[in-house]
Structure formats: structure tokens, C-alpha cells
Amino acid sequence: MAVTGERISLQPSEAFLRRRRLVDRGVRWLLFAAASLSVFVTVAIVYILVSESVVFFANVSIVEFLTSTSWTPLFTNANYGIWPLLTATMVVAGIALLVAIPAGTLLAVYLSEYADSRVREIIKPFLELLEGVPTVVYGYFALLFVTPLLQTVIPGLSGFNMLAPGLVMGVMILPYVTSVSEDAMRAVPNQLREGAYGLGFTRWQTARKVVIPGAFSGITAAYILGMSRAVGETMVVAIAAGQNPKFTLDPTEGAATITAYIVQVSLGDLPHGSIGYQTIFAAGLTLFVITLSFNVLGFYLRRRFREVY
């Protein structure tokens, strides 16, 4: 503000306006830089995984990696077949989904079709608590509570097995599967429900004949995204499924998953650049490709159900 003669001018000075514009533009660029960090992180992840794996595959044939059923990279007579790690990952994730899919769907139907808002207010924070428990604590629980409990029912169960971590992981991903499915179910317009009620449907019939078919792609997305989480989960399996790569589909035996193997190698002190060091990047790349394809599929399905209504 400048005082010119008698009158007070409210016109801001040119310099003030220029400074303000400069700050505004500077902030804009700064915020843009922060937002584009996510792109750089993705690029960096892909670059690191691929560049270290390229070195690995220069020493190990990719055919052996994808076909051999023996994974003993740290032995003198080394074998580099990813299958034992893959089967263990799939067995544990499969058990987790056997728990989380039926339970999550029932709970989502209950939350979206039966529960009134007061009940939902209590259940939702509880599910968040279940999701908030550190995974290492779930691992402790799987090894020292669930496994001994299961051993009283299944006498042949070994101390490290894939069943207990699978079950615990099912509980762990339950809140996620529930909330994504519930989102999808609630996106189904109420007119469709009211039409069904008008025809004399019960709530369960409405859920089965109207809501679930209407939210089908969203619910499928929930299953796929849950699967992706189960595949990438680390601590529960590293603690309770053992660290021995074994080509087996028997859930009562222990076997190392991809993630458990990476943890096991990271705990030892492998020199940077050694073949053992590179194996964890090859294993990590495999894991990344699997979870990425699940995530992309789930992302696509979730977006589709939003567009339907």
C-alpha cells in the first residue's frame, strides 16, 4: 500500500504481485515434484530388480530357473529352480484365501446388507485393529500358538508347516478382502435392492440374486488383491513356515516361500555382487511380476464396477 497525497491506494504494488506470482508458481512446481516421486519409485524398483536379475541370468540359464524343481543356490552343487519357492508361496496363499474368501464375503454381505450403521461403526474400527497388528506378531502367533494347537488335532504336523501360517494369513487379509468387497456391494444402487424387496425377496435372496451379481467384478477384485497381499506377505511365513526350500504341495510340511527366502539370505552376510546376493533380486523380480499382474487385474476390475453404475 502506498500513500499518494491525500488518498490511500489499495492497489498492491507491482513488486508485491510479482513476488506473489513467483511463490505461487514455485509452490506448484514443488508439489508437482513431490507427486512425481511415486513415478520415480516405480521406475527405481523396476530398474534395480531388472538390472540385478540381468547379472544373475547371465550366470544361470533362465530355462533352469523356470523349470528346475530344486532351489539350492547356497550349496556347492547349486541348483537355481524357482519352483520350490513358488509352490510354497502358492500353498500358503491358497490356504489364506480358503479362509479369507468365504469369511470375507459373508462378513461383507453382513456389513452391507444386514448391519445397521451403529453396528458398522463398531465393526469397522475392529477390522482396522485386526489389520494394524504387526505381521511379526502374527508370525509369533502362528508359530507358538496356532501350530501347537493344530498339532493336537493333526499328530503328524511338523513344527514348521505351511498350514498354520496360511490360516493366520487368512485372518490377516480378512479385513482387506472384506472392505474391498463391501465397497463393491455398497456401490450397487439401492433401487435394485428395493425392487427385489418389492418382489418379496428376503435380504439373503437379495444379496445372492441382486447384490453379489451386481458387484461381481468388484468382489473378484477383492479376491485378487487379497491374493496379491498373501503372496507378498513375509514375516508370518519367514517365522512359521521354515526356511527350507522344498518342492511339495503338502501343507503339513514346512517350506520356504519367495519372501522367506529373501529374508533368510538378507539375515546372513552375503557379499555384494555374489551370486547368492543376486538370487534375492531374481526371486524379488518373480514376486514383483506376480503381484503386479494381480494388482493390475484387480485395479481394472475395480474400476469396471465403478463405471457400470
Binding site: R28, L31, L49, A103, P134, G139, Y140, T234, L267
Partner: protein, 306 residues
């Protein structure tokens, strides 16, 4: 035809449908109860085992070969230090990215690319972040296995959580608030700084707390960068007696954190160490549940004010 209609026993049909309706509501409740019981069993099992070791000595001792003397001093100091780094990096970066995407971003392919990346990063397994940090920070930039690197990788890990909650908080602010600010002659940055951010603060805070509570319990990425499991010293104090009084040397020290300490103890065959693991778990669980409870409470209060 008419006879066919009369043949249907409507009473039993309705009874059967109502029965199924009840059974399914019951099944939902049973699932819920099983989940509640699991959580209770987990907490009780941990608390009953762990409560025996938690005392002053446990909190102020270093880990030891002898389970009776072992404590979590270096672990909780390490966790605190790493969390300070994570909070300082992830909250500003996450809020800035969220602000850009909600308030500034034009509708174009670049914005789409950023949004897809944020969604994708939220689904990347945490151990992959650990490999990124191992390849890029530890060996690429030669930062070593330090508190700084652990803080950085956990900050990247929870960035999507903070971005998403910031965006939700900003989106819930009515457009009129912004228009009133523009009407008074404010430019976009003044509007954001003086109107949008203060109104979005509770939502952002909730997201930050939830994100940090996730980071506290994360184990896999910190193991992958090669954090040690046996640390019997503390990082140097950030406050120095001589000039310049502040020291950032603690950022460059090796460390351990509570989940790693717990993992180390639970992986040992001796049962005495399982007890110290349970003790660590109790402290860890109490911290995360407390943070989650604070977040739930803030959200509850904000909703009641509206």
C-alpha cells in the same frame, strides 16, 4: 394353471426363505466372532507370556546371550529414531503429493500416470521396497545400513497411505470455502495454506498416524537392507555439549528395531527367548494399537463435529 398356483405351499416357502435369511445373518456374525476370538487369543497369549519379562530392567538393557538379562533398549531407541526420520520424510512429501493431485493437477496423461503409480505402489509387497533400498540406497548411493536408510525406505512404503488420506481429507472440504478465499483476493497457494490445509488437518493427521503405526511394525524391508539383530550400543546423542550443539551423526549409525528384535528372538529354539519375544511383542502391539486408537478417535470426533 390355476391348480398349479394353488399347489404352492406359501407358508413353508416363506418359512424356508426366512430361515435362510437368519442362517446367513448368523454366519456373518459367526465369522465376526471367530475374528474377534482370534484377536483376543493373540493378545492374551502374548500378554500372558510377555507380561512376566516386562519391567524396568527389560526396557533399559541391551540384548544378551542370557535371556534373563536381555532387554530391548537398543530396539526401542532404534525404532524411535527410525520413526522420526520416517515421519519427517513421509508426512511432508505425502501431503505435498496429495495437495498437488487434488488442488493443482490438470487432467492429463501425466496426472493419470502419477495416480496409477500411487495405486500400484500401495500394492507392492513391502519386501520389494527392501530390495529397492538395498540396491539403491545401501549399495547404489553407498549410504550403508543405517537409521537414515531405514527411515527412508519406510517413508517410501507409507507414502501411498498418507497421499490417499490427504486426498480424502481435501476432497471433503466444500468448494465454497475455496471460493470465499478467492473472493477475498487470495491466490491459489494462499487459499491452500490458509483455508484448505487447516480444514484438512484432522484427516491428514489420521492418515499420518495410521501410516506410522504400519511403519513401526514393518519388519521385512528393514531386514532386507541388512539391519543387524544384535546391537549393544546406542546411536550418538543428537544434542552435543560443544558447538554446533546439534549433531546428525545418529543418522549414520547401525541400529536394530523392535520387530527385528522380536523376529530374532522368536526364531531361536530356546523357549526362554520366546518369552522375551513375547515381551517385545506386547510393547510393539501396545504402541501400534494405541496409535490406531488415536486415529479412530480423531476420526470419530471430526465426524461428530460435522
Amino acid at each position: 394353471m390355476a391348480d398349479g398356483v394353488r399347489d404352492i405351499d406359501y407358508g413353508s416357502l416363506i418359512r424356508r426363505n426366512r430361515r435362510w435369511d437368519l442362517i446367513c445373518a448368523g454366519a456373518g456374525l459367526v465369522v465376526l466372532m471367530v475374528a474377534v476370538l482370534t484377536l483376543l487369543a493373540l493378545i492374551l497369549d502374548l500378554a500372558v507370556t510377555g507380561a512376566r519379562v516386562i519391567d524396568w530392567q527389560f526396557l533399559t538393557s541391551y540384548p544378551s546371550r542370557n535371556a534373563g538379562e536381555a532387554g530391548i533398549l537398543s530396539a526401542w531407541v532404534g525404532t524411535t529414531a527410525v520413526m522420526i526420520v520416517t515421519a519427517f520424510l513421509s508426512i511432508p512429501l505425502g501431503v505435498m503429493a496429495g495437495l498437488y493431485l487434488e488442488e493443482y493437477a490438470p487432467r492429463n496423461w501425466l496426472t493419470d500416470l502419477i495416480e496409477i503409480n500411487v495405486t500400484n505402489l500401495a500394492g507392492v509387497p513391502s519386501i520389494i521396497y527392501g530390495l529397492l533400498a538395498l540396491g539403491l540406497f545401501v549399495y547404489g548411493l553407498n549410504l550403508g545400513q543405517t537409521i537414515l536408510v531405514a527411515g527412508m525406505v519406510l517413508a517410501l512404503l507409507i507414502l501411498p497411505v498418507i497421499i490417499v488420506s490427504t486426498r480424502e481429507a481435501i476432497r471433503s472440504i466444500p468448494q465454497e470455502t475455496r471460493e470465499a478465499s478467492y473472493g477475498l483476493g487470495a491466490d491459489q497457494w494462499q487459499t491452500v495454506r490458509l483455508c484448505v490445509l487447516p480444514a484438512a488437518r484432522p484427516g491428514i493427521l489420521t492418515g499420518a498416524i495410521v501410516g506410522l503405526s504400519r511403519a513401526i511394525g514393518e519388519t521385512a524391508p528393514v531386514i532386507t537392507i541388512g539391519a543387524l539383530t544384535f546391537i549393544a550400543f546406542l546411536p550418538p546423542s543428537p544434542v552435543q555439549s560443544g558447538f554446533p550443539f546439534l549433531s546428525f551423526e545418529w543418522l549414520n549409525t547401525p541400529f536394530t528395531v523392535m520387530p527385528i528384535q522380536m523376529f530374532n528372538w522368536v526364531s531361536r529354539p530356546q523357549a526362554e527367548f520366546h518369552v522375551t519375544a513375547a515381551g517385545t511383542g506386547v510393547v510393539l502391539l501396545a504402541m501400534t494399537l494405541l496409535m490406531n486408537a488415536v486415529a479412530v478417535y480423531i476420526r470419530y470426533r471430526v465426524r461428530r463435529q460435522r
